[in-house]
C-alpha cells in the first residue's frame, strides 16, 4: 500500500517509529495529487513548497505531527487566499488563522491545500463553485456531493490523509457518503466556528473527513473544545474519543426513525441500510423503530432559517473593503449593487433573496419566526428519541451520487439531496456518515449515525465496530 493510501493512525505509528519521514509522506501525496487531481479537481490550490517546508519543521511528538491535511476554502488560514469558491472573494488573503487551523498547527499537522466547494457552502454537488467542477473519484462524470465536495473527494481519492469541511445542512456527511469516506458533523458548539466564513451561523459546524472512524476521532480530538473567541462554543469537557472506539455495541440502543426510510429512498441504499441494521442486531444491539414526527418540516424550516442568516452574513461582501469591486464608478449604493451582482453566483443570489424575503417586515412572522418555533419542535423530536435510544441510524443520502448537471436546473430537487441530514443541524445534535456498501453501479453508499448533544463518543463506538467488521474502507477508487 502506498503511503498516500494510509490512515492517520497507521502513518503516525510509522512517523514516530521513524520508518518514514514527513517529507516522504508529503512528497507521496504531492505526486498523487499531480497524477489524479487533474481528473478529480478536488483542490483549488496546493502549495507544494509550503507543504514541504512544514514537513521539514513539524513536531512529530504532537498528536497529528506530520499528517498532511486539506482545508475547505471557507476556513481562514493566515496568508492563504480564502475564496469560498466565489468570485467576490478572489484575491482575498486571510489575515488570521481560524481557531481550527491554529489547533491543527498546534497539533503538528501539515496544511496541504485548499479544497473546492459550492460557493459559500450553498449546494449539494459542488457544481456551484465558481472556479471548477469536482468529480466523484469513483465515477468521474458524477458529482462528489456538497458543499464540501472537494474535501470529500481528495480524501476518497487519497490526495489527502484527512480534510476539514463545514456542515450546515449535510455538507460534510452527504459528500462523505457519496465519496465513500467518513464525515463527521460535531454537535453545534463542539468545534469553534471562529474563522469559518459564516453561511448560517446557528447551523454551521466544522468537522473532519477521514478514511476511518478512528481517524475521525483523532481529528475531532485535535479541533474540539471551547473557544473564548466563539460565544456559541460550549464549555463541555472534551473526552478521550479514542477510548470509546473499543467499546462493543452489545446493548447499544439504536433507533430507526421511520420517517427516514419512506418514499424517495433508492433501492440500493435501502438494501444496504437493512443489511447494516441486521448486522447491528446480530451484534446484540437493541433495534427500535421510532418516530421523529416533525421530520417533514425540516427542509422548509432549514431553507428559511439558513437563508435568513445567510442574507445577513453575506451582506459584508460589498466591494468596499476587500474582495471583488466593480469597475463602475458611483455612489456607495451603485458600488454595492454592481459588485454583488458581478461577484455572487446564481445560487448565492437566490438564497440571499429568499433570506431577505423571509425576514422582511410583514413576512417575518409567517416565515422566520414560525420556522424558529418549528425548529424547537424538531429539536424536541430528537431529545425525546434520545430518551430511549443511544444513537439513531438513517441513510445519509437518499441516493448515491448523481450525474453532473442532473439537478442544476432544478434547485428544489437539489435541496432534497440533504433531506436525511438537515434535521441534525436544526436540532444541533451530532452525526457521522460511514461507508456501508456500494450501489449496483459501484458508487459508495453511506449510513448516518446520529447522537445526542456532545455524545460524539457514542457515534465513534457504533461506527468503529461496524467499520471493523466490514471491508468497505479497504476499497479505493481506481483511476
Amino acid at each position: 500500500m502506498s503511503l498516500y493510501q494510509e490512515t492517520i493512525a497507521s502513518l503516525r505509528r510509522k512517523l514516530t517509529a521513524k520508518e518514514i519521514s514527513p517529507t516522504e509522506l508529503v512528497q507521496s501525496l504531492l505526486q498523487r495529487i499531480e497524477s489524479v487531481d487533474p481528473k478529480v479537481n478536488g483542490y483549488l490550490r496546493v502549495d507544494s513548497e509550503k507543504a514541504l517546508a512544514q514537513a521539514k519543521n513539524c513536531d512529530l511528538s504532537k498528536p497529528l505531527g506530520g499528517i498532511p491535511i486539506a482545508i475547505k476554502d471557507n476556513i481562514n488560514e493566515k496568508g492563504e487566499e480564502c475564496t469560498c469558491a466565489s468570485q467576490i472573494l478572489v484575491g482575498y488573503q486571510a489575515p488570521y488563522d481560524a481557531t481550527v487551523i491554529r489547533k491543527l498547527k498546534e497539533a503538528g499537522a501539515i496544511l496541504l491545500g485548499r479544497t473546492n466547494m459550492d460557493e459559500f457552502a450553498m449546494g449539494s454537488s459542488t457544481e456551484h463553485s465558481s472556479f471548477k467542477k469536482t468529480s466523484n473519484p469513483w465515477k468521474l462524470d458524477h458529482i462528489p456531493g456538497g458543499s464540501s465536495g472537494g474535501s470529500a473527494a481528495v480524501v476518497a481519492a487519497d490526495e489527502a490523509i484527512a480534510s476539514l469541511g463545514s456542515d450546515t445542512g449535510g455538507s460534510i456527511r452527504q459528500p462523505a457518503a457519496l465519496c465513500g469516506c467518513v464525515g463527521l458533523k460535531p454537535t453545534y458548539g463542539r468545534v469553534s466556528r471562529y474563522g469559518l466564513v459564516a453561511f448560517a451561523s446557528s447551523l454551521d459546524q466544522i468537522g473532519p473527513f477521514t478514511k476511518t472512524v478512528e481517524d475521525s476521532a483523532l481529528m475531532l480530538q485535535a479541533i474540539a473544545g471551547q473557544d473564548h473567541y466563539e460565544n456559541t462554543s460550549r464549555p463541555v469537557a472534551v473526552p478521550d474519543y479514542t477510548a470509546s472506539l473499543q467499546q462493543p455495541v452489545k446493548g447499544l440502543r439504536i433507533g430507526i426513525p421511520k420517517e427516514y426510510f419512506g418514499e424517495g429512498i433508492d433501492h440500493d441504499v435501502a438494501d444496504a441500510l437493512q443489511k447494516s441494521i441486521a448486522w447491528y442486531q446480530s451484534q446484540g444491539a437493541i433495534i427500535k423503530e421510532i418516530s421523529l414526527p416533525h421530520t417533514h418540516a425540516a427542509i422548509a424550516v432549514y431553507y428559511i432559517i439558513a437563508t435568513a442568516e445567510a442574507s445577513a452574513n453575506l451582506a459584508r461582501f460589498d466591494g468596499v473593503r476587500y474582495g471583488h469591486r466593480t469597475s463602475t464608478v458611483g455612489d456607495p449604493l451603485t458600488i454595492y449593487r454592481k459588485s454583488r451582482a458581478e461577484g455572487f453566483g446564481p445560487e448565492v443570489k437566490r438564497r440571499i433573496i429568499l433570506g431577505t424575503y423571509v425576514l422582511s417586515s410583514g413576512y417575518a412572522d409567517a416565515y422566520y419566526n414560525r420556522a424558529q418555533k418549528v425548529r424547537q419542535l424538531l429539536r424536541r423530536d430528537f431529545v425525546t428519541a434520545f430518551q430511549e435510544c443511544d444513537v439513531l441510524l438513517t441513510p445519509t443520502s437518499p441516493t448515491p451520487a448523481f450525474k453532473a448537471g442532473e439537478k442544476m436546473n432544478d434547485p428544489l430537487k437539489m435541496y432534497l439531496a440533504d433531506i436525511c441530514t438537515i434535521a441534525v443541524n436544526l436540532a444541533e445534535v451530532c452525526g457521522i456518515s460511514i461507508p456501508c456498501g456500494f450501489s449496483s453501479n459501484q458508487l459508495p453508499i453511506g449510513l448516518q449515525l446520529i447522537g445526542p448533544h456532545f455524545q460524539e463518543g457514542t457515534l465513534f463506538r457504533a461506527a468503529h465496530a461496524y467499520e471493523q467488521a466490514h471491508e468497505w474502507v479497504k476499497r479505493h477508487p481506481q483511476f
Binding site: 435568513a308 442568516e309 459584508r316 460589498d318 422582511s360
Partner: protein, 481 residues
C-alpha cells in the same frame, strides 16, 4: 390658538470600557486612523463577536442609576442596512429584549440653563420618563475629501448605549435640563465621559407641535447634527416656532429629518421619511442570550456611586453648606470628589467650600486635572480654624497657592505669616491697649459694644496684623468685665 411642543430625545452614549463591545481592540478616542482594529471590528469574513462584560455591567449600572427595570435576560439582534461605515452591513444591537426598561430622569433646578434658573416657572421636579436603554456597537467614522471618502474603523465596535426617552418634554429648556442631568449621571457613574464634542454623547431630537389641549401628537420632525447641549436648546428654539408657524397658517408638517446648522441658527431639510426602513431584525445567532440576574446586576450595583442629589443633601446636612454651595460642588463629579478629598484634612466644610467656590473656581481650573492637591484647601482651613492665621492672611496664602502650588503651611512659614499666638505676649498688648484707650474702655462699659474695635485695632497694630482677631476679642472681653 396656542400651541405646545412635544419633545422626545434619543441619546447615544459611548460606554467607557477598556476594550470594544465585541473584540479585544482598545476603546480609546483618537489614535492614528485604523490602528485600533482587528478582524472582528473590521467585519472580516469568519470573524465572530464576543460580548464585553464590562459594557453590559456599566449599562446595567446606568439603568440602575436612572431607576430602570433591568431585564433578567437580554439578547442581541442584527439590524440590517448598507452603509460604508458599518463593516458587516448589519449592526449588532438590541431589539425586543433591551437591558433596561422604564425609569426616568428627574429635572432639577440647577440643570436648567442659567438664564432661566431664576424665572418663576415651575421648572424643577418634573420627571422625564425613559422608554428603554439598550446596548449596541458604534459604527466607523467617515471622512469626505474632495473626490473620495475614507473610513476610520477605530470607532467601529465601540460600546454604545441608546437611551430613549418618552415624549415628555415641552420646552427647549426641559430638553436642556434633561441632557444636562443625563450627562451628569453618566459622568458620575463613570459610565462615560459623555463629551458631546468628542461624539461620546450624541443626541437626536424628535419634536412636534399640537394645539394646547389636543391629546394626539402632531407629525414629528427629527433633528440631527446637534453637537452640544446648548445647541439642542437653540435648535428647538428655532424649530418649535417654525412648526407652529406652519401649522397655524394651515400648513402641514411632513415627517422629515432636518439638519441643525448652528452657525446659521436654522434647521434645514435633509430627507423626507416616506416609508419606514425595514431593518429586518432577527436574533444575533453568534451571541448567546445574556442572563443579568446571576452576577452581572449584582456587580453593577457595587458600581453605583452616591448620586449628585444625594451628595448635595449630604454636603448640606453634614457640613452646613448652603443650597447654592452644595449644588455647585455636587454638580460635577471631579469637583465633588475633590471637596470630599479636602475634607479628609479638615472638617471646616464651609470654609473649604468658600475657598473652592469663591477663590479657586474663579481661576477657571481644569476640573479633570486640578492643579492643586485638595488637601491644601483642608490645610488652609485648619490654619484659619485653629487661629494660626486670620482670614485676611488666608487670602494672601490662596493667591500664593494658585501661583506657586505650594502647600499653605510652607507658604505661611516662608512668608512669616503665622499669627502671634503667644498668649502671654497678647495679654501684655491687651493690657497696653486698655491703658492707652481709657475712652474706649469707658464707652464699652457703658454699653457701646462697638468700642471694642478700637482696642482690637491697637493690638493688631502692635502685632503687625499677625494676631488672631478672635483670640484678641476673647482676651479683651475677659479683661473688660
Amino acid at each position: 390658538m396656542p400651541y405646545e411642543a412635544v419633545i422626545g430625545l434619543e441619546v447615544h452614549v459611548q460606554v467607557k470600557t477598556n476594550t470594544k463591545m465585541f473584540c479585544g481592540c482598545k476603546n480609546e478616542y483618537g489614535g492614528e486612523v485604523n490602528t485600533h482594529v482587528c478582524p472582528v471590528c473590521l467585519g472580516l469574513p469568519g470573524a465572530l463577536p464576543t460580548p464585553n462584560e464590562q459594557a453590559i455591567v456599566k449599562t446595567i449600572a446606568a439603568g440602575l442609576m436612572l431607576g430602570c427595570d433591568i431585564a433578567p435576560i437580554c439578547k442581541f439582534d442584527r439590524k440590517h442596512y448598507f452603509y460604508p461605515d458599518m463593516p458587516k452591513n448589519y449592526q449588532i444591537t438590541q431589539f425586543d429584549l433591551p437591558l433596561c426598561l422604564n425609569g426616568g430622569v428627574l429635572l432639577e433646578k440647577f440643570s436648567f440653563p442659567k438664564d432661566v434658573q431664576k424665572e418663576e416657572q415651575a421648572l424643577a421636579g418634573k420627571k422625564v420618563r425613559l422608554t428603554r436603554i439598550h446596548l449596541e456597537e458604534d459604527v466607523a467614522k467617515s471622512f469626505h475629501f474632495e473626490d473620495q471618502s475614507g473610513i476610520d474603523f477605530n470607532r467601529a465596535g465601540t460600546p454604545l448605549m441608546e437611551i430613549v426617552s418618552e415624549a415628555d418634554m415641552a420646552t427647549p429648556e426641559e430638553a436642556f435640563a434633561y441632557l444636562t442631568t443625563l450627562r451628569q449621571i453618566m459622568v458620575y457613574g463613570d459610565i462615560s465621559d459623555a463629551d458631546m464634542e468628542k461624539g461620546q454623547m450624541r443626541c437626536d431630537v424628535n419634536v412636534s407641535v399640537r394645539p394646547v389641549g389636543q391629546k394626539e401628537f402632531g407629525t414629528k420632525c427629527e433633528l440631527k447634527n446637534l453637537n452640544s447641549i446648548s445647541g439642542v436648546r437653540r435648535a428647538l428654539q428655532y424649530e418649535i416656532p417654525r412648526q407652529i408657524e406652519v401649522v397655524s397658517k394651515g400648513g402641514i408638517i411632513r415627517q422629515e429629518t432636518r439638519r441643525w446648522d448652528d452657525a446659521a441658527g436654522q434647521t434645514f431639510l435633509m430627507r423626507i421619511k416616506e416609508n419606514a426602513n425595514d431593518y429586518r431584525y432577527f436574533p444575533e445567532p453568534d451571541l448567546l442570550p445574556v442572563r443579568t440576574d446571576c452576577g452581572l446586576k449584582a456587580e453593577a450595583e457595587t458600581m453605583i456611586p452616591e448620586l449628585p442629589s444625594q451628595k448635595k443633601a449630604r454636603f448640606m446636612q453634614t457640613y452646613g453648606l448652603s443650597d447654592y454651595q452644595a449644588e455647585v460642588l455636587a454638580q460635577e463629579r471631579p469637583l465633588a470628589d475633590y471637596y470630599d478629598e479636602a475634607l479628609k484634612t479638615s472638617i471646616q466644610g464651609v470654609l473649604i467650600a468658600n475657598y473652592i467656590i469663591n477663590d479657586f473656581l474663579a481661576t477657571n481650573p481644569d476640573l479633570t486635572n486640578l492643579p492643586i492637591p485638595a488637601s491644601h484647601f483642608g490645610e488652609l482651613a485648619e490654619l484659619v480654624g485653629s487661629a494660626k492665621i486670620n482670614s485676611k492672611q488666608a487670602k494672601e496664602v490662596l493667591l500664593e497657592m494658585f501661583s506657586s502650588h505650594q502647600s499653605p503651611l510652607s507658604i505661611v512659614q516662608e512668608k512669616g505669616l503665622e499669627q502671634v499666638t503667644d498668649l502671654a505676649e497678647l495679654e501684655i498688648f491687651c493690657d497696653e491697649a486698655l491703658a492707652a484707650n481709657e475712652r474706649s474702655v469707658a464707652d464699652y462699659k457703658s454699653g457701646k459694644m462697638g468700642a471694642i474695635n478700637a482696642l482690637k485695632g491697637y493690638v493688631m497694630k502692635k502685632t503687625k496684623g499677625q494676631a488672631n482677631p478672635g483670640v484678641i476679642d476673647e482676651i479683651l472681653k475677659r479683661k473688660l468685665i
